[in-house]
């Protein structure tokens, strides 16, 4: 499970510090779906970013399965992320000049996986999200929904223990949104994974095992 102990984070904007998270404490259980909600600007994406090790907290500490995460060590956080965590963004963050297949390979290449296995797994996930026929296309040649499916395939192909998803269904059509939800829930229910979703309402609360409201306290668990 993830645990945040007294996490604070602020950003310097126009010469002054703007606090986003202040002395935050929370626990997000393993092998379940956790939903972080809150109004815009309350720090959902920032919290997710800290949990993924993409940024470091100004104060406090983060724990994963009881161990303190080396949040300020960028290299160690990259190792930790590579072995355990997949991050799904609202705006996909696909590598724009890499093809869809290469985007998926980019997540697998760092582990030293062989080329044949890499290709097999990448094509397998492209098939599952219905994009195998577009494997040699650039992200810009796909629709918004297809890009999010490609991003999902990239996360899934790496077989993480945890998926951190930031508004995964916000920009896609309902049908694609449902497909994404289905894959994510299957990851938790059938694959024993942990899913943490940050959303301000585009991800159904009833799918979550735990809901954490950033402005206050957990409203359901």
């Amino acid at each position: 499970m993830f645990e945040a102990r007294g996490i604070s984070k602020s950003f310097r904007v126009a010469g002054r510090d703007v606090p986003v998270l202040k002395d935050l404490h929370c626990k997000l259980p393993s092998r379940s779906v956790s939903l972080i909600t809150g109004r815009s600007g309350e720090g959902k994406s920032t919290l997710l970013s800290l949990l993924a090790g993409l940024d470091f907290p100004d104060a406090g500490e983060l724990l994963f399965q009881g161990d303190v995460m080396p949040s300020s060590a960028m290299g160690r956080m990259a190792d930790w992320r590579r072995n355990r965590v997949g991050v799904l963004f609202q705006h996909f963050n696909l590598l724009p000049s890499w093809t869809i297949l290469q985007n998926i390979e980019a997540a697998l290449i760092t582990g030293g996986m062989g080329c044949a296995e890499r290709l097999l797994r990448s094509h397998d996930w492209l098939k599952r999200v219905g994009l195998d026929h577009r494997h040699d296309h650039l992200p810009s040649q796909l629709s918004v929904g297809q890009q999010q499916l490609a991003a999902l395939a990239r996360v899934m192909a790496a077989e993480p223990q945890v998926i951190l998803a930031d508004e995964p269904c916000a920009d896609v059509d309902p049908e694609t949104g449902e497909a994404i939800q289905r894959h994510l829930l299957e990851f938790v229910r059938a694959g024993n994974g942990t899913l943490v979703v940050a959303s301000h309402g585009t991800f159904p609360q009833e799918l979550a095992d735990c809901v954490f409201q950033l402005s206050g306290h957990p409203i359901d668990s």
Binding site: L54, F56, M74, L95, P96, I109
Partner: protein, 405 residues
């Protein structure tokens, strides 16, 4: 991460951004071509200046000063019959200083020095005219065409008549000023230390260091000196006229000759200094230009790679999200720089070689040594220029990069 995968990623990245890659490779190619062309022209220029300086030659005179009261000939007087010349009447002089006689084997010893091109013995004496006026007589090896020519008197200095002929005796060449003061011309008869000589030529030697009033053959000079000596030494010499190998070895030649003759003094015009200094200045300028070209290439590479990094900041952040460590990204960026620098520098060497074949500089050519200098230089510059972008990329947190649009 496997090296083959990293190389594939780097090559793919370079191919994807063809225009930027081509521009950067062209920059490296120009730098390498510059090094090759500069090296070729520089080598040709250096060879030419070395040749000119070697041809110009440099010379000096070595001798061993004696105390004025020393009797040089004392060792050669019969026992108990020392008849030294009075003070001030010491016969062997140079530059207003009495000199000792030099060891007879010195010429052979000095001629073996690698820094010396030619050496010739000389006997320079100060004699007294019947009128009581002193005058200088130089005994020269008339067959020597190098050291004697540059330090004393040569056939090219003859104004009228002819120069001394080896093997002939009792002939003299007069310095123009002395001939005029004594009212002598070619064909006149003169007496030197009681021996009759015929003037065969009048010369103007300019400002040569072993200048005398009267020039005779070395053997004639020795015969003049031998007169009155009970046991004269063989091969009497009080000066060595030395021609150094070239301007660059002049200093070495002087110190080696000085070491070979303990207690000796060396007189040189130092005419080699300006030439050698000019050559040194040219070399320094050349090195400075090369360094400036290298710095310019480095700055261009730095700017290009920095611009490339700014362009790819978001992409690098995404790779970090996917688990690429700062080390992996550093290797990727360095590998890209290496591949571009290698391709660019090889291309540049070919280009430089082609430019050299059309250059109007005589003898300008660059061999493999220029390639061996240009390629590592450009590659090192490219890798060095990548250090700052790599450092910056490694330090950037992924969240910051993702915020970039």
């Amino acid at each position: 991460m496997r090296f083959s995968d990293l190389t594939r990623c780097a090559a793919r990245e370079l191919f994807r951004r063809r225009a930027r890659s081509a521009a950067l490779a062209a920059g490296f190619a120009l730098a390498a071509a510059g090094v090759v062309v500069f090296s070729g022209v520089w080598q040709a220029s250096r060879q030419d200046s070395d040749k000119i300086l070697a041809g110009t030659g440099t010379h000096f005179i070595t001798f061993r000063p004696a105390a004025a009261q020393d009797c040089i000939v004392a060792a050669h007087c019969p026992p108990g019959q020392m008849n030294c010349p009075p003070q001030g009447a010491h016969p062997f002089w140079f530059n207003g200083t009495p000199t000792q006689l030099l060891p007879p084997d010195l010429v052979a010893k000095v001629s073996t020095l690698s820094s010396v091109r030619d050496v010739s013995p000389c006997l320079l004496m100060r004699l007294t005219h019947r009128s009581g006026n002193p005058y200088l007589v130089a005994g020269l090896d008339a067959s020597n065409a190098t050291a004697v020519r540059t330090t004393s008197c040569a056939a090219t200095d003859i104004l009228s008549g002819e120069f001394l002929k080896p093997g002939e005796s009792h002939q003299a060449v007069l310095e123009e000023s002395y001939a005029k003061s004594q009212n002598l011309t070619t064909g006149s008869g003169i007496e030197i230390a009681g021996q009759p000589f015929r003037v065969i030529g009048v010369a103007n030697t300019g400002a040569r260091p072993a200048k005398a009033d009267v020039y005779v053959t070395l053997q004639d000079a020795r015969n003049i000196a031998y007169a009155g000596m009970y046991n004269p030494p063989a091969d009497m010499t009080n000066l060595l006229l030395v021609e150094a190998k070239d301007a660059t070895s002049h200093e070495r030649a002087m110190s080696e000759v000085k070491a070979a003759l303990a207690g000796s003094t060396i007189t040189s015009y130092n005419c080699y200094l300006p030439a050698a200094q000019v050559m040194g200045i040219n070399q320094q300028t050349g090195k400075l230009l090369l360094a400036a070209a290298g710095l310019a290439a480095f700055l261009v590479a730095l700017k290009s790679q920095w611009a490339g990094l700014i362009e790819r900041r978001r992409e690098i952040a995404i790779l970090k999200v996917l688990g690429w460590t700062p080390g992996m990204l550093a290797r990727l960026i360095f590998l890209e720089a290496l591949l571009l620098a290698l391709a660019g520098s090889v291309l540049g060497c070919v280009l430089g070689q082609a430019i050299l074949s059309f250059t109007p500089v005589h003898g300008a050519a660059a061999g493999l040594s220029a390639w061996a200098m240009a390629i590592p230089l450009v590659v090192a510059g490219a890798l060095l220029a990548a250090v700052l972008p790599v450092w910056h990329a490694a330090r950037q947190w992924p969240a910051n990069g993702l915020r970039m649009q």
